[in-house]
Each structure stands twice: as structure tokens, then as C-alpha cells.
């Protein structure tokens, strides 16, 4: 079983020498492994890339999908851009806020679910799109929310 350091060396091998291309897949791997990118994880990734933590942090903080603060076991992301909003995304989001007991941008009190509003997920005609742990649910309506909340609570 390889360590994160070793996995990152393998990732680096996919790209030419002397380029930093591995940083994005390396961060994704590190986040999968650790849940979120704490300062220590950033240092770990930097060492594996033979680079500096400042550089790695500069990259990680540029992108929306990298968590630089702790997140819950599950991530629920509701697209609230126009196409989804026109058909009720805000109501879906509010139903989730109510069902999970936290505001968008926060994690539920039991630490199980982090809820976020996100920009266009690329499923506009199948609105409203809710990404649950990176997998898209389509045509989500406010009425679908209670079942989703229960699903998440059941540790699905």
C-alpha cells in the first residue's frame, strides 16, 4: 500500500520533468485521503512535490473544490445559478438548510453534512442540480429534500 508521498510521485511521473502540473491531482488525492487540506496536509503535499507550502496554498485557495477548513462526512452542493434558480434552487437550498439545521456554508451540528451553494454545475436543463459527495442528483425539488436528509443521516 503506497503512501500519499509515493502516490504523488506516481502522479508527477504523468507529466514532463520540471513542471508543476501534478499539484492539482496531488491536492485532490490529499483531500480524498485527509478530508480537508489543513496546514499540515499542505506541507505534506509541498514536500512530496519538492515545492513550498506557500505555493501549494496559493494553488489550493484559488479553486472552489479544495476545502481549506474542515468539512463534514458528506458534502451537499446546491447549484443556485440562474437556470437552477429559475426552477426553485433557492427553495431546495432553504429546505436543506432547514432539514440539516445549518446555513449554507456551514456544517450540520453533528458534523455529518456540509451544505453549500455553488455556481453552475453544468446540468442546467436537468435543474435543480444537487451534487451529493460529487455525484449529481438531477431534477431535485424541495419535496425531495426530506428523503435526501434522511439518506444522509443514515450514513449513506
Amino acid at each position: 500500500m503506497s503512501t500519499l508521498y509515493e502516490e504523488i510521485q506516481e502522479i508527477r511521473a504523468r507529466y514532463p520533468e520540471d513542471v508543476e502540473s501534478a499539484v492539482l491531482p496531488a491536492l485532490r488525492r490529499a483531500q480524498e485521503e485527509h478530508g480537508w487540506l489543513s496546514a499540515d496536509v499542505i506541507r505534506e503535499v509541498a514536500d512530496a512535490l519538492e515545492s513550498t507550502p506557500a505555493y501549494v496554498h496559493s494553488i489550493a485557495s484559488f479553486y472552489d473544490q479544495f476545502h481549506l477548513a474542515p468539512v463534514g462526512e458528506h458534502l451537499v452542493e446546491v447549484c443556485t445559478n440562474v437556470s437552477c434558480a429559475l426552477v426553485g434552487a433557492q427553495q431546495v437550498l432553504e429546505a436543506l438548510e432547514s432539514g440539516l439545521g445549518c446555513h449554507a456554508g456551514e456544517t450540520s451540528a453533528d458534523g455529518k453534512v456540509t451544505l453549500r451553494a455553488v455556481e453552475c454545475l453544468g446540468g442546467c436543463g436537468w435543474a435543480t442540480i444537487v451534487a451529493v459527495d460529487d455525484h449529481y442528483r438531477t431534477h431535485v425539488k424541495p419535496d425531495d429534500v426530506p428523503a435526501l436528509v434522511e439518506e444522509l443521516a443514515g450514513g449513506a
Binding site: Y5, A54, S58, S61, F62
Partner: protein
């Protein structure tokens, strides 16, 4: 060689001819027209066109173009804000957008009065604001190191500082984080900006976002004087400008010698001037009054005592030089001792080869070298920092740099070992001396007399300068001498070894010349009066007592030395941007085949003298955090072969002793070598093994 192709460009109502491909900002400048810029800085790499300050109208293009990204093509017609309302509107817009969030800090901002944002707003910007919403705010200022304060509200996100960190110093320390309007400049967590060149960002910053903590609230630009001089702390001899106020040095800035430093300065040269105000600064002659105690003397008594001691020593007087003296100081001392006493024996910290003048070249030539060999056990950046920047620039332009002896000829050789200089075939050779003016001091010493140095037991040891006084070899010699006379700046350096100490001065307090590692003669100008007399002044008085004619004025002393060493050059002609003399005639020398160190199974441990060490650095509190932090530099391949990961704690062992250090993988050193800062190697021997 093809002739430069010139093209004709029309800028506003003027036409100008420039070499094809010249940047538009320079082309306009050649026509006497300003194109205002913020992010444009050619030394940082290709122009990025980020700030949009330089918007100009180009005939044939519907949209405004970023002038900094344009290059001169024949027949181009460009209109700046002077003649194009569209361009003027565009530049006005840029300034309006910058000022949307920029705080009105001018009254309390150090940059005020020397601020490009102020200047350009006056020239091209709006007179008042239409922005009625709350500006974005940050906690401010925050120290990103003991040297530099960051004010994120003032930052206009021109990215000059991050581009410097990434593309010049390549230290990966100062970065932009987040995105869009939430972008900020930062270091990692609250770790300081550690690096040899961090201070350059305070000069690059066009606003008061990155400022020097040392200079905070110290002066306004209309209260200061700027003295052009040359740094005396390392053999590069960067050209600097000392900012003084009311007779005190307040800061040091780069003066940009395009061939030597290109406008960069290391943090030691920039910040260590604090040493001028050190608590243990010697301000009067001293005499030993106890094992570690001195008492003050009057100058008359001191000179009498020194004269008596020297007479007693006679030709058995040995001189230990620091290599930091000016040419004139070294010559004065040498003339006094060699001609006055027949004392010809001098100890220099190193042998600076003089047969490399046939291979000398400006440092800027390193940038365009295609093949470079760096054969230096000391990291280049620790001994001659700015040379490392030239090497990095060369590598970015595609040069191959080898850290082991090259098979064939190379364009440039950079080395700290004269033996390599003799045995590697290179068009240009850059020797890295240990001392700032070793070459000048050696030349001055030999020019001052004809007598043969005799290997004598030192009856009297004269120690010139603090560096010599701190040198273990010199201290050992001092034990054997009957009398030790020293001169330098700091009491601490001479405590316990000197019988008599005369006050010395800093390179910032003297007029004189030095020779840098290129072989370039440069002029140091007195920035401030020392609290003590010039070294030349009392050397002249002493010389008189021994019947030796010595002028107390550097100009006269220089002319005397120059006649013997430098050819037809007068003091006044050395110039503020000094020239490098042409290469000497190549002596028909046979290349000695150098020895290639056979790679053993072990690793060679080099304990290098770090840049951030020495008496000046020790007396600059803000620089203490830059001292090395217990890392073992190791080649990435050597590490991999031993299963060692970057950042891992490793055990370094040699016969009978071992140490734990953090491994830092690098590629700019030779395989088979590991490096640690001097003082952190414990009792390890030069042959070590490293294990995960």
C-alpha cells in the same frame, strides 16, 4: 553577425526608430513619451499585461491594447493618453478601479512622496471618487517577516512581488491566495518570508503595501539625502544608494548596475546597516585592562602606544587582513608596515587567483550563457547571493547547468576553488572569493612594497578588521604574538585577544574603492560621518612617525595605487556605474587536469558559511530570523537512492557521532555532497552517511 533591424514607430505626433522587437514602453520612452505602468517590470520576465494601466490605442485594432505587451513593428502607429481620448479614458478607468478599494492612507504611508500610484493618479487619474460602498478591509499592517510589513488594503494586486518570489528569487515564499476581489498577498500561515532576497519586494511594490519595518515612519522623501555607493559585505559589490537623514543611514536601496546586480540586493546588504549603531561600537582607542576588559585611551596615547609596539615588532610584525578593507585602507596599512618597518608578511583569508583576468566577464553575461558549470562546495547564494540570481535567470532561459566537472568546454564557470578555475575550459570564469575585496586588498598589499615576506614568528600581530579578529586561524596566531594591535568596529571581536584596539569604520562611512569578484573597480562614497576618524587619517599620522609619506585622503592614495596596479585611471573617473576593464591577455597556460573526486560510497559533508552570519548580521536584530534552520541540503537523486523523502528527519552519521537534521532535497548541487550551515554540523566529519 546580423545587423540589428531597426523599425520606425509613430507614437502620438512623434516618430522614432528602434530595434525591431523593442518593448512599446521603451519605444515610447525613446520618443520622450511616458506610457504609465504598474505591473510592467522587464526584470520579472515577460510582460503580463495585468494591471491595464498602460492601455494605448493602436491603429488597426479596435480595442485598447496593453502597451507593455506590445513590441515595436515597422509602421506601427500608437496613440497614448496624450493624443487619444480613448486611451486617456482607459487609463483613467484603471486608476479609478484601483482607487475603488485603495485606502486614503497617504498621510501615514511611508510610500507617500515616492509613490507611483500617487504620481500616476495626478497625471492620469480621476480627481474624486464615485465609489460609495464600503471598501474591502484587512487587518493591517501585518508583519510578513521582521523586515517587511504588508498592508493588504493598500495592495493593488499588481503581482510584482509574487512574480519576484516565483520568477527571480524562485523561493516560493510570497504568493497570492484566494481568487478575484478576495485575492491577497501572503506567506504560508504566519511563517515569515524567509529568503536571501525578500527585501527586493519593498522596492518593487509601487504602493505602500510592502514596506521596510526598519524604515517605518523614519523619513519623508523630501527630508533625505541619497548617497550612491557600493555594498561592502560580499564580493559581488552591488551598487546601492544609502538613504540618510540627519547624518544617519536610514535605509539602503539598490542603485541598479545593469551588469553587476540588475537592481537586486540581498537582505544582508539591504538591512545589515544597523551595525553602524551597534551597542559595542568602538568609539575611542582601547587598551587591554584585564583578561576580557578594555579601558579607553586618548588618541595621542594610543598612537604613542601603537608606535612603540610596532617599533618593538619591527620586521617581525605580521599583518592579518580581513579582505573587507578598501584598496586605500589596505594600501595605507601596507605602506606603513612594509616601507616603515620592513614587515612584509601578511595573512590573507584566501588566495585570490590573479590569472583569471583573461577570462573575466560581467555577471550579466551569465544570463545569456548556454552551458554553465557551477563547481562550488559552498552554495553560491551564501557567498555571492546576486550571482545565484544570474544563474537562475540563465536556467530559466534554457541554460544547462552542471554541478560536476563538465566533459567539454562551457560558456561559463562559477567556482570557489582556484584549482577548478585552472582546469576547466570555459569562456568566462567567475571566481567566488570569501571576502568582499580580497583581490583589491591583495593587490594593494603587493603594490605597497618590494620586500620579500619572511615566514616569521609574529612578535607583533596587526589585525585589520573584525572579520580577521574573528577568524580562528588569526586568533591562533594572536596567541603566539607578544603584542596584538587590532582595529575594527566592535569591541566584542577583539575581547580577549588584543592589547590595543583602534576604532575602525564601516564601508558606509568611508570613501574608497573596492574590486569585486568580476575584477571591477568600484567607488564607495561616504554616506555618513563615522563617530571616529577615517582609518586613513590615523594611518597617515602613524606613517609620518615612521617616515613614510601617506596622504589621509583616499583620492590621493588611490592615484598612488592606481599608478602601480590599475593603469591610467584617476579616482574621479571610477564613476558611479563603473566599467569592467577589458580582458587581460591570455597567458599561454597549460591546463592542469584537475582531479575528479571519486565518488565514494559515503557522502561528503560541506559546512558552509551562511550569508546571514558575521558581525554586521549579528548586530541587526531584524535579520536574526534569517539564520539557517538546521536543514541538510541533499541532492534529490541521492535522497531517492536512500529512500529519503523531502522534509523528512534523517540521521547523519560519521565515525562515532551522529545528528538528526531535516532533509531538504535540491537539484542545484553536486551528487555526493550534502551541505549544512557552519555551526550546525556538530562533531561530524567530512565523510558522512545519511539514513532515513
Amino acid at each position: 553577425m546580423s545587423a540589428t533591424e531597426f523599425v520606425k514607430v509613430t507614437i502620438d505626433e512623434r516618430t522614432v526608430e528602434v530595434p525591431k522587437g523593442t518593448g512599446m514602453v521603451e519605444t515610447a520612452a525613446a520618443a520622450g513619451i511616458e506610457i504609465p505602468v504598474f505591473c510592467y517590470e522587464p526584470r520579472l520576465g515577460a510582460p503580463v499585461g495585468a494591471c491595464r494601466m498602460c492601455l494605448v490605442e493602436v491603429e488597426g485594432m479596435p480595442k485598447l491594447q496593453a502597451g507593455c505587451t506590445l513590441t515595436a513593428q515597422d509602421g506601427m502607429v500608437v496613440k497614448t493618453a496624450r493624443t487619444s481620448t480613448q486611451a486617456a479614458e482607459g487609463q483613467n478607468s484603471t486608476l479609478e478601479f484601483i482607487l475603488v478599494n485603495h485606502p486614503l492612507d497617504c498621510p501615514v504611508c511611508d510610500k507617500g512622496g515616492e509613490c507611483p500610484l500617487q504620481d500616476l493618479t495626478f497625471r492620469y487619474g480621476p480627481g474624486n471618487t464615485r465609489m460609495t460602498f464600503p471598501k474591502r478591509t484587512f487587518e493591517k499592517p501585518i508583519p510578513i517577516s521582521p523586515l517587511i510589513a504588508l498592508d493588504r488594503e493598500r495592495c493593488i494586486l499588481c503581482y510584482r512581488c509574487t512574480r519576484f518570489s516565483e520568477n527571480v528569487a524562485e523561493d516560493g515564499q510570497l504568493v497570492a491566495i484566494n481568487r478575484g476581489a478576495q485575492s491577497m498577498i501572503a506567506t504560508f500561515e504566519d511563517e515569515p518570508y524567509r529568503g536571501h532576497f525578500s527585501g527586493n519586494v519593498t522596492e518593487l511594490c509601487p504602493v505602500g503595501a510592502l514596506t521596510s519595518t526598519q524604515y517605518r515612519f523614519e523619513a519623508r522623501p523630501w527630508e533625505i539625502q541619497k548617497v550612491p555607493t557600493v555594498c561592502g559585505l560580499c564580493p559581488v559589490g552591488c551598487n546601492i544608494s544609502a538613504t540618510t537623514r540627519e547624518g544617519k543611514v536610514k535605509r539602503v536601496l539598490s542603485r541598479n548596475h545593469p551588469e553587476v546586480d540588475e537592481g537586486w540586493l540581498c537582505d544582508k546588504g539591504r538591512y545589515a546597516f544597523d551595525h553602524l549603531h551597534a551597542r559595542d561600537r568602538i568609539t575611542a582607542p582601547l587598551r587591554k585592562a584585564g583578561p576580557r576588559r578594555f579601558e579607553q585611551l586618548t588618541w595621542d596615547d594610543a598612537l604613542d602606544a601603537v608606535e612603540a609596539a610596532l617599533r618593538a615588532g619591527g620586521s617581525s610584525t605580521v599583518t592579518a587582513l580581513s579582505g573587507g578593507e578598501s584598496v586605500e585602507e589596505a594600501y595605507g596599512l601596507a605602506k606603513l608596515l612594509r616601507q616603515g618597518l620592513g614587515a612584509n608578511e601578511a595573512v590573507l583569508p584566501e588566495d585570490v587567483p590573479d590569472n583569471l583576468d583573461a577570462f573575466r566577464a560581467p555577471l550579466s553575461a551569465l544570463r545569456t550563457a548556454k552551458t554553465i558549470a557551477v563547481l562550488s562546495s559552498t552554495p553560491v547564494v551564501e557567498r555571492a547571493p546576486v550571482v545565484d540570481l544570474w544563474l537562475k535567470a540563465a536556467r530559466r532561459l534554457g541554460a544547462t547547468i552542471s554541478y560536476t566537472r563538465p566533459a567539454g568546454a562551457v560558456d561559463a564557470l562559477v567556482t570557489d576553488d582556484p584549482a577548478h578555475a585552472a582546469s576547466v575550459e570555459a569562456t568566462n570564469v567567475y571566481f567566488l572569493p570569501l571576502t568582499p575585496n580580497g583581490r583589491g586588498v591583495a593587490d594593494a598589499w603587493s603594490a605597497a612594497g618590494d620586500g620579500e615576506p619572511a615566514d616569521v614568528e609574529p612578535a607583533v600581530l596587526v589585525i585589520s578588521g573584525d572579520e580577521a579578529a574573528l577568524n580562528p586561524g588569526v586568533r591562533a596566531l594572536a596567541e603566539r604574538a607578544d603584542t596584538v594591535i587590532g582595529f575594527g568596529m566592535f569591541e566584542e571581536s577583539f575581547r580577549g585577544i588584543a592589547d590595543l584596539v583602534l576604532p575602525g569604520t564601516s564601508y558606509l562611512e568611508r570613501d574608497g574603492t573596492t574590486i569585486n569578484l568580476e575584477g571591477r573597480l568600484q567607488r564607495q562614497r561616504r554616506a555618513v560621518l563615522a563617530p571616529v576618524p577615517d582609518v586613513l587619517a590615523w594611518l597617515a599620522k602613524l606613517a609620518e612617525r615612521f617616515g613614510v609619506e601617506l596622504s589621509p585622503y583616499a583620492a590621493n592614495v588611490f592615484d598612488e595605487v592606481a599608478a602601480k596596479c590599475f593603469g591610467e585611471i584617476r579616482y574621479a573617473d571610477v564613476g558611479e556605474i563603473a566599467e569592467l576593464p577589458p580582458r587581460a591577455e591570455r597567458r599561454a597556460a597549460t591546463r592542469e587536469p584537475g582531479s575528479q573526486t571519486e565518488p565514494g560510497s559515503g557522502l561528503r559533508l560541506v559546512a558552509y558559511k551562511p550569508l546571514f552570519s558575521g558581525p554586521a548580521v549579528e548586530r541587526t536584530p531584524e535579520l536574526q530570523f534569517q539564520r539557517p534552520n538546521g536543514e541538510l541540503q541533499m541532492h534529490a537523486d541521492d535522497a531517492r537512492a536512500r529512500g529519503i523523502r523531502n522534509g523528512q528527519t534523517v540521521t547523519v552519521s560519521s565515525n562515532g557521532t551522529s545528528l538528526e537534521l531535516k532533509a531538504r532535497l535540491m537539484r542545484n548541487l553536486a551528487r555526493g555532497t550534502v551541505r549544512v550551515a557552519d555551526g550546525q554540523q556538530g562533531d561530524l566529519h567530512p565523510e558522512v552517511e545519511v539514513r532515513a
